[in-house]
């Protein structure tokens, strides 16, 4: 149903890996104008929802870390999840991706319930995530990191692994796919390096590229820009936009409002576990409740409203 909206993964490499600012200007935004009719209130309905969360709560001891009443996520758009430290963003992410189980509540992906579905099964359902603390697999080469993401590799079955001929054909395909993705992310020259030798930003790139090997519908990025140097940030932003251009849905957690404004189509604001506001980036920057949530709770917040506040 959704496949027709999405460019084939390998065909979309036209932008090239370098992805300088000039190139990014040209990246197509398939959801432009979709949010014009959406009401900017928490829990608002979207024209084409891919992911829905209803009454999701998670408690740690007496503390309610997450208490989300309703969240609809628009298909094919970049949705930012922002909020002060301790707002429950990462915990909410964990709940959505099966890395933690909610005390109550329902999550649906493409209209199908994914309550209690183990995290590893979500990749098959088209949802993949990255982590706040980048999880590059240090003592695997960059190429092996990439290949790990591939689906349908019969050689990952114990018995079939024993017979090389059962998996070498698929392995060759996977190898080609991995190298093409590496080329797109401008990392071909690092293919045979151990991932542990890469810089923080390069690891972020590997992690994102690796997640694309699963050919996901929904990409969940937990602070993709954290600890990345400014030069690489632009490149990363370009890659995120590229995901949207391919028709994928992106949800990401971020602190830096500049980034959020630059790439997101829709912003969801969390504070103390609840969603306190939703809206377009411009509307959110002007929202008094959001400003209070940030400045009221954390003066040292990285969120910078600049001239907009």
């Amino acid at each position: 149903m959704t496949d027709d909206k999405r460019a084939p993964i390998l065909g979309a490499t036209a932008g090239g890996g370098g992805a300088g600012a000039a190139v990014q200007e040209n990246i197509h935004n398939p959801v432009e104008g979709v949010f014009d009719t959406v009401e900017a209130v928490p829990g608002s309905k979207k024209p084409d929802t891919i992911l829905t969360a209803q009454n999701v709560t998670r408690r740690f001891g007496g503390l309610k870390a997450v208490d989300v009443e309703t969240l609809h996520v628009q298909r094919g758009a970049i949705t930012a999840l922002i909020g002060p430290n301790g707002a429950g963003k990462t915990t909410f992410f964990n709940l959505l991706t099966g890395f933690d189980n909610p005390d109550e509540g329902h999550v649906e992906l493409n209209g199908v319930s994914i309550d209690g579905v183990a995290s590893h099964k979500l990749a098959a359902k088209g949802m993949v995530r990255t982590f706040q603390l980048t999880k590059a697999l240090s003592r695997l080469t960059v190429l092996d990191n990439m290949k790990l993401g591939a689906k349908n590799q019969p050689g990952e079955n114990f018995l079939k692994a024993l017979v090389s001929s059962m998996w070498t054909d698929r392995e060759a395909e996977v190898d080609a796919q991995a190298r093409e993705l590496l080329a797109r992310f401008n990392m071909t020259h690092m293919a045979d390096e151990f991932a542990g030798t890469l810089s923080g930003g390069q690891r972020k790139l590997v992690e994102m590229a690796r997640s694309l090997m699963t050919d996901p519908e929904v990409v969940m990025l937990d602070e993709p820009m954290a600890g990345v140097n400014p030069a690489l940030t632009q490149s990363l932003l370009g890659h995120v936009k590229q995901l949207r251009a391919e028709g994928r849905t992106v949800i990401f957690v971020e602190h830096d409002m500049d980034m959020v404004r630059e790439i997101s189509d829709w912003v969801v604001v969390m504070a103390e576990g609840e969603i306190i506001a939703e809206g377009t980036p411009d509307a959110i920057s002007a929202n008094q409740a959001v400003v209070d949530a940030y400045l009221g709770s954390h003066h040292d917040s990285e969120l910078d409203f600049g001239e907009d506040s």
Partner: protein, 337 residues
Amino acid sequence: MNWDLIFTQMFSQAFGVNAMVYALAAIGLNIHFGYTGLLNFGQVGFMAAGAYGVAMTVFWLNWNFWLGIGIGVIFCVVLALILGVPTLRLRADYLGITTIAASESIRLFVRWRGNRERTGAAEGINDFADSFFALNVFDKPGNESYQFLFFEYRANDLWVMLVGWIVVAFCVLINWQLIRSPWGRVLKAIREDEDAARSLGKNAYSYKLQALVLGGVIGGFGGMLQVISKQSVQPDTFNPVITFLIWTIVIIGGVGKVWSPVVGSIIYWGLISLMITFMRELIGTGAGPNLDRFLNLSILNVDQLRFVIFGGALMLLMWFRPQGIFGSREEMALDDR
């Protein structure tokens, strides 16, 4: 000082039954810890499961010895499942404590007097492997020794070694094939970061269980060959210190390399018998009384030195060379466990 004896001991031990048995146990542990990152502190439990599988089949059930090999494998698989299903979701250090507790529980259970008819309790089981030695191609009357160059082995040991080293070669081959396959790639990914593997759609739990079973069964083969070679199985030989000896061997060779368990075992047994035989000889010379006076070292406690040395070696290797004595420093720098 009898240098001939010292070197004969060293070379014979380096490739002898012990080196073979511990190479197998270490191949298993290397799959657990080296490739999957499982903190298995109970490898000796798998050796016991294999050993008792064979011995009990003959002693208790009165079945064919060769069937016992299969029963031993089944014991190991069952143990891995009992151990793994509930505990592989636990944190690494909890898994370590659980596995050491399980291996001790096995030892306590088989030596329980209530099991006398099944396991022979504390005295164990003897003479159950006649069928194995009936096929000895090196048979000599009175189990006499063969000698060549610096090697000297009894006829029966030579037969166990022939079979055992073939098993070792086979296990290394399997290990090599699996690790170069995508299956092995998933294991290594789990070792590096389980959550990352899960986020990419790999069922980490299932893979850890598979690794536990595979490494356990290989360890079980080690246990079987050990007790077959002695024609005797006794519960107290399966104490936790053995597990940590296996750890030392894996670390000597370098964690997570296909050849490391074999190389580590040969080096360990060669070096340790070189040192101990040398000490024994030294005690026999004029220096003996002084060693006793100043180091309290005599023929009576020279064997304890073996454990002092390997305990110290385990500490120092884990500290300074966790990548093994042949591993590179760069590799170690990446080790963020």
